[in-house]
Symmetry: C2
Subunit: 290 residues, 2 copies
């Protein structure tokens, strides 16, 4: 497994792989790899000959310096996990590679960054769009895989790739879950014991909404009322947002009509160390043709 620490080295390697007629698959991560990330590796492997994982804790997508400092860094374990999963190359850039001295160029999107996560995390998506653009330029992939758990991020990257004209296939990979339904996240270990017991309520709420749509419910108000009622059964769960939006542009909707509709949730739970852990999850609701 190759380990590359500079953008130029990664680009030279990409040029050589492409000259061989081989397809490159990129999996951008911030490290602290879990089975969710490794499912992205498998998805890239299925679509490419050469799988590159980038590990970079991107400072510009954090709102608070403390969060950036606290972000788990487990590079040795991550490299071992990549090696074991058959990754071909890992990109491990220093800050100077992605933000050279005096850097002042930003990639920003407008509408799609505003709702949901954008409300409580100003500037977050500007950081994401900027670093993913740089990773696309550095890795020159044919395909790039992102988790559906961070749905708004995936939608934003699809939009960015279309708008900037990247000839890169942006693939969304289904969320990996614990046996009790909780979506994998590096944040889960920070939940208090009782919060961890209650957290799977989120997945149950999404299942219930899906069932309601399958049974013919189309009204957002009714669906969101159901979400709140179900979540209230977990006394530690404190809802941040629950919204229904179009699945591509994340525009508001009044009802689940034709075309996929996103149900997105953010829920706070008590952290073991005090404070809260904010969990997000989502489901794309489809009305079956009848």
């Amino acid at each position: 497994m190759d380990i590359l620490r500079t953008t130029r080295a990664l680009q030279s390697r990409a040029d050589a792989v492409r000259a061989d007629g081989r397809r490159i698959g990129l999996v951008p991560t911030m490290g602290a790899l879990h089975e969710g990330h490794l499912a992205l590796v498998d998805a890239a492997r299925a679509r490419a000959d050469d799988v590159v994982v980038s590990i970079y804790v991107n400072p510009t997508q954090f709102n608070a310096g403390a969060d950036l400092e606290a972000y788990p860094r487990t590079v040795e374990t991550d490299l071992a996990a990549c090696e074991a999963r058959g990754v071909d190359a890992v990109f491990l850039p220093g800050d100077d590679q992605l933000y050279p001295e005096g850097a002042e160029t930003w990639v920003d999107l407008s509408e799609i960054t505003r709702p949901l996560e954008g409300v409580s995390r100003p500037g977050h998506f500007r950081g994401v769009a900027t670093v993913v653009t740089k990773l696309f330029i550095a890795a020159k992939p044919h395909v790039a895989c992102f988790g559906e758990k961070d749905y708004q991020q995936l939608a934003l990257i699809r939009r960015m790739a279309t708008d900037l004209g990247f000839d890169i296939d942006v693939v969304g990979v289904p969320t990996v879950r614990e046996p009790d339904g909780l979506a994998l996240s590096s944040r889960n270990v920070r939940l208090s014991e009782e919060a961890r017991r209650q957290a799977p309520v989120i997945a149950r709420v999404l299942d219930a909404a899906e069932s309601a749509v399958a049974s013919g419910e189309r009204r957002c108000e009714a669906l969101l009322h159901g979400v709140r009622t179900e979540l209230a059964k977990a006394p530690l769960a404190e809802i941040d947002y629950a919204e229904l939006r179009t699945a591509d542009a994340l525009a508001p909707v009044d009802a689940v009509l034709e075309g996929p509709t996103l149900l997105a949730l953010a829920v706070n739970f008590p952290a073991e160390a005090g404070g809260t852990v904010r969990l997000i999850d989502n489901r794309v609701l489809e009305t079956s043709q009848s």
Copy 2:
């Protein structure tokens, strides 16, 4: 000479050229080609095996719809000029190729866009940075050539290419001038007859500043006083700005010290059809090592 009208076709062609081990040189233009543009073609030819000229009047870099409408469009003549100069391919995209429906992604820089042209053309450089990023992604060049006449644009594109990590050599090409010193520009034909006679004063002012620095003058105030005094000899010339700044980041300076210093001018002259024509020009002042 190939003519390509879609981003995907240009990218496929670029992949094939690169697979052959040939270097691609890009010359981005808005058409209305004159000898200044063709000097960019020659510069690209000297550095690449395959020269691609893009012709696209980018709507997002115009401040007023009327300016966009009035911009000269001479595609047939431009294509003939490219063919005669040995260009390998011309990229002629429609708006939908560079701004797909619903496009909302912008590439923006901060400090370098603010002074000089940025003062009177808000949003102009955001449009430039966005479209050049898209052209870089579409054309996949090894080298891209831009005129030094639009010095701030060149500095911005260098900064953007460094920040985003493009492995593209951004080359600045010296300004091509009329025999009387006036920098070539598609705007020159709009000057009134008497304004055209007086316009070479700009080049004489730049020459004089260069001579003053060669003679030991370092003080900005003295140099700018000289600029204003010389320009005043052309009664139709109305100065918009005259500034000295660092040649890379365009930061303010108090004196011409070590390192290259930019002297940038914008001057208004009467247009034949009424109104004014705004001409820009510049000189990079170097203090010789003594």
